[in-house]
């Protein structure tokens, strides 16, 4: 294998890639869109249920016994409360009667008005009712005979919740990587169809050299893009070495998949079809990060799971090498396996 030859092949492939208007556009535009979406989404999570309250007299229990996660915010008048609700400041509000304490003391049932904004989630209304009732029980000294012991499973993220945009980062990383699968697969397929591969192989270009050249191109294109994305969105702040290695392994993974897709496809259309299938499959593990519990354990057979899980652990929970080395090892194994399969199937097609 001649390094000069491989370098020439890599330069040629990168040039061809960007000459293809579709893939050039997808590459640049995609990056812009993903970065735009990331920064367009809120960077924090609103953890508390904020309820407006107008109360001439605030019962002590209403002040002191609010459960964590609920904030009763006092407003100066009922009109102010209604305005705040219609302005969207609160999803709901309550108005306590001035004689609430007298009624409680007399064993009577005061009436509490709860105002709901029509667009609020359905659960808010009922939740507020239960809240008001519970606070009233607490005020009237009626304890519950049931004591609830709480056990938090996993790291407790209270007050440091993961914003939706950060949950989507692995998904976008996978999309960026997979887009390169399309590009590589299409270019390879075109070369095979047009016979330019054959033309190359009757020169000093050897078969291993050809595949190494294509592999380097694919990995470089995928890695540079996704690494750029990670840098822009601040994904390198924690454990940059692990992040970079993971992204590199991800780039190798999708390049192998690209080879396989190129071997399967006959023309651009069929390459795109298989590419979409690959994209859908590889995108399943990120869904489990975006929607925890949505995808069960079988997602672990999908190679991108180990990419996604590593990124998620590192970025959100500050995991280190000791926590993720297993994932990385499995990812390496998948990379080797898929690369072998990809190269083997493509080689058969080229011959």
């Amino acid at each position: 294998m001649n390094r000069r030859v491989v370098a020439a092949l890599v330069a040629k492939d990168i040039r061809l890639f960007f000459r293809n208007r579709l893939f050039g556009l997808v590459t640049v535009l995609g990056l812009v869109v993903y970065v735009g979406v990331y920064f367009g989404m809120p960077g924090s999570v609103d953890e508390d249920l904020e309820i407006g309250m107008y109360a001439p007299v605030v019962p002590p229990a209403f002040e002191e016994m609010q459960p964590d996660g609920v904030k009763l915010e006092t407003v100066e008048s009922e009109e102010a409360l209604l305005l705040a609700i219609t302005d969207g400041e609160y999803p709901a509000g309550m108005v306590l009667p001035a004689d609430i304490m007298q009624k409680f003391d007399a064993g009577l049932k005061p009436e509490i008005d709860v105002y709901l904004w029509a667009d609020s989630p359905a659960e808010v209304g009922e939740a507020v009712e239960f809240l008001v009732t519970e606070l009233s029980y607490a005020q009237t000294g009626q304890p519950l005979s049931v004591q609830v012991l709480q056990e938090v499973l996993g790291p407790d993220m209270l007050d440091r919740q993961i914003p939706a945009r950060d949950r989507m980062v692995p998904f976008f990383a996978v999309l960026i990587l997979v887009a390169e699968t399309f590009g590589m697969a299409s270019l390879i397929s075109e070369e095979v169809q047009r016979g330019t591969v054959t033309a190359l192989l009757v020169t000093p270009v050897s078969v291993p050299g050809l595949f190494v050249g294509k592999g380097i191109t694919g990995v470089c294109l995928a890695f540079v893009q996704v690494a750029l994305y990670a840098v822009i969105i601040g994904g390198m702040e924690s454990q940059p070495a692990i992040v970079l290695l993971t992204l590199l392994l991800g780039a190798v993974l999708v390049t192998g998949v690209g080879f396989f897709v190129a071997a399967l496809g006959k023309d651009l259309m069929s390459v795109m079809a298989w590419g979409v299938v690959a994209m859908v499959v590889l995108s399943i593990p990120p869904v489990s990060v975006m929607f925890p519990g949505a995808v069960s354990g079988w997602a672990k057979v999908i190679p991108s799971y180990y990419l996604v899980d590593t990124l998620h652990q590192v970025a959100i929970f500050g995991a280190g090498w000791a926590d993720v080395w297993r994932n990385l090892l499995i990812l390496v194994a998948f990379d080797l396996g898929i690369a072998l399969v990809g190269v083997a199937t493509l080689w058969r097609k080229c011959r």
Binding site: L25, F130, T133, S145, P292
Partner: protein, 352 residues
């Protein structure tokens, strides 16, 4: 132009079409996207807390929990199952109701239960589960609430997210089936030089364009109707709706034919679609985010398809409500078809 030859070409398109990835994609993608979005959106925008419950003793609390709106309840078989679900984040909180729970509660016997809490669950979710369980336990215990709550709804009920997504999903069907299919078919024939072979027979370029346009219209119409049926979004004016969908399909097909006439290769065509996609889908963003002024949507041609559909299916509107927009839609159709006819006539060569 020959109707018979158009029929021959149309038959070929429908028989050979399903062998083509784009054809299948044009039919399947909108339906799949619709399904996925309706599943996803339920999770993405819903902040309803999720409670997992294991009932070891046939407690009535389970039925009470399942009847409330403030949380989503799921029953599990064992404590290990619910713990596993909590650890994965499938539920926010998991509780195990021991045997004799109901009796203990009714007899005010002090009872302990463990609530497993998912570390990533929001504070408000935990709080809602907490107060809901407490209140329902009190119901079980037969305690009478010390307060009466009166509800008043303020403002107009907004459109649920599933309904807000409908214009977007519909436009996917219209654009994929109506525009992309004729465009790719036309460009494919140019690239494969089969268009050249056709136009040296009595088949005219007009025949070819008409056949491909009809394919786009039919597919766009059928897929959009299916979509609306799946989403139960026909509303009360099915006849009007169908008419609007036909007009929209014609607009999409006209657009697709023009693009197909202008482009010489598939990759450039796809690149152009990606670039101008925002123009086609833009009106659906108005419906996703109602705070965006409505007038912005009127700049885009697909608005005049989407607005009447929304009016009929979601607001129960009739002809009087949609007439102006349908008028514009008809005008756009006539304009687009006119340009297509001009392009066909002016074509000196098969390459258009």
């Amino acid at each position: 132009m020959s109707i018979r030859r158009v029929g021959v070409l149309l038959r070929k398109e429908f028989v050979q079409g399903p062998k083509n990835f784009i054809f299948i994609y044009g039919v399947v993608a909108p339906l799949v996207i619709s399904l996925v979005l309706s599943l996803v959106l339920g999770s993405l925008f819903s902040e309803e807390p999720r409670l997992g419950i294991v009932d070891e003793g046939g407690s009535e609390l389970v039925a009470l929990v399942e009847a409330v709106d403030s949380l989503e309840a799921r029953e599990f078989d064992t404590a290990a199952d619910v713990k596993g679900a909590v650890a994965k984040g499938a539920v926010d909180v998991g509780v195990v109701l021991p045997r004799g729970f109901d009796a203990a509660v009714r007899q005010s016997v002090p009872t302990e239960i463990t609530a497993y809490i998912w570390g990533e669950s929001l504070a408000k979710s935990r709080a809602i589960v907490d107060v809901t369980l407490a209140d329902l336990t009190r119901d079980l215990a037969g305690q009478e609430a010390p307060v009466t709550v009166r509800f008043t709804m303020l403002g107009k009920e907004g459109v649920p997210w599933e309904d807000r997504m409908l214009p977007f999903i519909m436009l996917i069907a219209v654009v994929f089936g109506g525009a992309i299919l004729p465009a790719t078919s036309l460009v494919g024939e140019k690239q494969g030089r089969t268009l050249e072979a056709l136009v040296v027979t009595p088949t005219s370029l007009g025949d070819v364009f008409l056949a491909k346009g009809l394919v786009g219209v039919v597919l766009s119409f059928v897929v959009t109707v299916l979509l609306l049926a799946i989403n139960q979004a026909f509303g009360s004016g099915a006849g009007l709706l169908l008419m609007v969908l036909v007009l929209g399909a014609v607009m999409a097909a006209g657009f697709g034919l023009l693009l197909g006439a202008a482009m010489r290769e598939i990759t450039t065509l796809f690149a152009v679609f990606k670039m101008i996609g925002v123009l086609l889908y833009a009106p659906s963003i108005i419906y996703l985010f109602p705070q965006i002024p409505q007038w912005i949507g009127k700049i885009f041609p697909t608005y005049y398809l989407v607005q009447p559909v929304v009016e009929i299916s979601q607001r129960g509107g009739g002809w009087a409500d949609i007439a102006p927009d349908v008028g514009v839609l008809i005008g756009l159709d006539v304009l687009l078809l006119g340009v297509v006819v001009l392009v066909v006539r002016k074509a000196q060569q098969y390459e258009v």
